[in-house]
């Protein structure tokens, strides 16, 4: 049984206007799965639908065999799925520490347990320790992205949904982000990554999907897709 199983999913924002059309995909435990696609393809909509922010029109989303389509986002995160949203979405007037602390909100545990968790995240992202008492809005773009990921990890997820973590970052930082995603896989997280940077995203992926205008038009292993002539032409700029 796959960790995440999506079957014949249709979803969108207005009734009768599906953005996602007949999507089927799966994420096995311990995998990095990359979904690539250009602007407006529906990548964010896909992740938002899994996380419960967008309600599906039809189709199934199963997490560990159990349907989650009817659950609100704040219950989905409790089951172990954490969405790291596009464009950071930090609580900008709160401090780095407060953002992290709230990331553990769904744990419903005591303060010292959450602080323990924060210290662990600060080991992974030492810069966040230095910035602890700063407001989130005062961080650089790269630091904000790290904080968003760290906040997403605070709920102790099994499955991490990453929405274009490279967006708006300098090339050097982008490399760090992809390095980090590989690192997270080693730590045992299963990852569904959505990216426009097809080459890097497929490079680190066990499995990939190509999303075009709300439909999955291709799938295969990361390597297969990187060698596919259509993918090369449309996404790798070769």
């Amino acid at each position: 049984m796959a960790l995440l199983d999506i079957n014949n999913l249709f979803a969108g924002y207005e009734p009768g206007v599906p953005v996602l059309k007949n999507i089927s995909l799966s994420v096995e435990e311990g995998e990095i799965v990359s979904v690539i696609g250009s602007n407006g393809a529906g990548k964010s909509t896909l992740l938002k639908t899994i996380a419960g922010l967008v309600k599906p029109f039809s189709g199934e989303i199963r997490y560990r065999g159990e349907s989650i389509v009817r659950l609100p986002p704040y219950q989905i995160v409790k089951r172990g799925i954490s969405l790291v949203p596009e464009g950071r979405q930090l609580f900008s007037d709160l401090t780095v520490y407060q953002n992290l602390f709230l990331g553990g909100y769904s744990l419903k545990t005591n303060k010292s347990k959450i602080e323990e968790e924060i210290r662990e995240k600060e080991k992974l992202f030492p810069i966040l320790k230095e910035r602890r008492t700063q407001r989130a809005s005062t961080l650089s773009g790269g630091e904000q992205q790290m904080l968003t990921i760290a906040r997403g990890l605070m709920s102790k997820p099994k499955l991490l949904l990453l929405d274009e973590p490279s967006l708006g970052l300098a090339p050097k930082i982008i490399q760090e982000v992809f390095q980090l995603v590989k690192e997270l896989k080693k730590m045992g997280y299963s990852i569904l990554l959505v990216e426009q940077l097809a080459n890097q995203a497929l490079h680190i992926a066990d499995k990939g999907y190509v999303l075009e205008q709300g439909k999955i038009i291709l799938s295969g292993s990361g390597e297969e897709l990187r060698k596919d002539p259509n993918v090369k032409e449309a996404y790798l700029g070769v």
Partner: protein
């Protein structure tokens, strides 16, 4: 000179009342984008409840006060359900049905009070014994002193909640970004409910504090509520500290003006300052959220 200090002291007490109302209106607005116009009427109802408990049912004052605070919270929560249920929590900042619903609630509250307690003003039992405290050559009634002590204690508690508690942070997170809040496990509707509970408690406390100063009547909440609302606007809606500053400013200006002008002009002072400040800085003295929200 001592006249001025004397009215400053009185203005401070009234200002604290307006500040409490602004605080309540702000905390509800921050999570729900709803401006609770019926706040003053909720204060009135809660005060009447404490009045009935004491005078009709002979409940001891402390218990009566606590029960009416609980009632204020419960009614406020009910208001949340009535106002938000038909709209849903998404897109609240772009919907204005709540305005009509709240106006309706305000009318219902006033008429309910008229039916239950009658239209004529009644004296509130003086639960704070009626004496004066003299500091230097300024005389404060114990009532005014109580208002200041309770109001400042509440402000300190709310500031502490915002700075240091998980609930305070969750409230701020919800007001900054509901979607991101729900992604980390916060149920935004639940947090909105908490702010309505806090607001309802504040309304009740405010009503009970001014009960002995003004008389009790179905109309008692209207003017105070409006001035508290002005204080919130003056400080910038959504800014707790702004609302407190706005409240004290209006209270003090009113009191100082009463030295030179007939008392009937007091409301004109409050709204005059408000209009003046909003002309110069439309977001209020400390506000900036309005701009981001629109």
């Amino acid at each position: 000179m001592s006249d001025i200090i004397q009215s400053l002291a009185a203005g401070l007490a009234m200002g604290a009342i307006y500040a409490l109302i602004a605080l309540g209106i702000n905390i509800i607005f921050s999570t729900s984008s709803i401006v609770n116009f019926a706040f003053g009427d909720l204060a009135m109802i809660s005060t009447f409840i404490s009045f009935s408990l004491m005078s009709t049912f002979h409940v001891p004052p402390v218990l009566a006060v606590l029960l009416s605070i609980a009632a204020g919270m419960a009614i406020s929560l009910l208001m949340q359900v009535v106002v938000i249920r038909p709209i849903g929590i998404h897109n609240l900042e772009n919907r204005f049905e709540w305005l009509l619903i709240l106006l309706g609630i305000s009318i219902i509250f006033k008429n309910l009070a008229r039916i239950i307690w009658g239209p004529r003003p009644r004296a509130y039992p003086n639960i704070f014994n009626d004496s004066n405290v003299t500091i230097g050559n300024v005389h404060l009634s114990t009532q005014e002193l109580w208002i200041l002590i309770v109001a400042i204690a509440i402000m300190v508690i709310i500031e502490w909640m915002n700075r240091s508690t998980r609930l305070g942070w969750a409230i701020q997170a919800t007001s900054m970004n509901k979607e991101a809040a729900s992604l980390i496990g916060i149920n935004p509707l639940r947090i909105i409910s908490y702010t309505f509970l806090i607001g309802g408690g504040l309304a009740a406390v405010t009503g009970i504090l001014i009960g002995p100063v003004t008389f009790l009547s179905p109309e008692m909440g209207t003017m105070v509520g409006l001035k508290g609302f002005s204080a919130a606007l003056l400080g910038g809606v959504g800014s707790p500290r702004g609302g407190i500053a706005g409240g004290f400013m209006i209270g003090i200006c009113e009191a100082l003006a009463s030295l030179f002008l007939p008392a009937d002009y007091a409301p004109a002072i409050a709204f005059g300052i408000l209009i003046l400040v909003l002309l110069i800085k439309p977001t209020g003295l400390f506000g900036r959220t309005i701009i981001e929200k629109v």
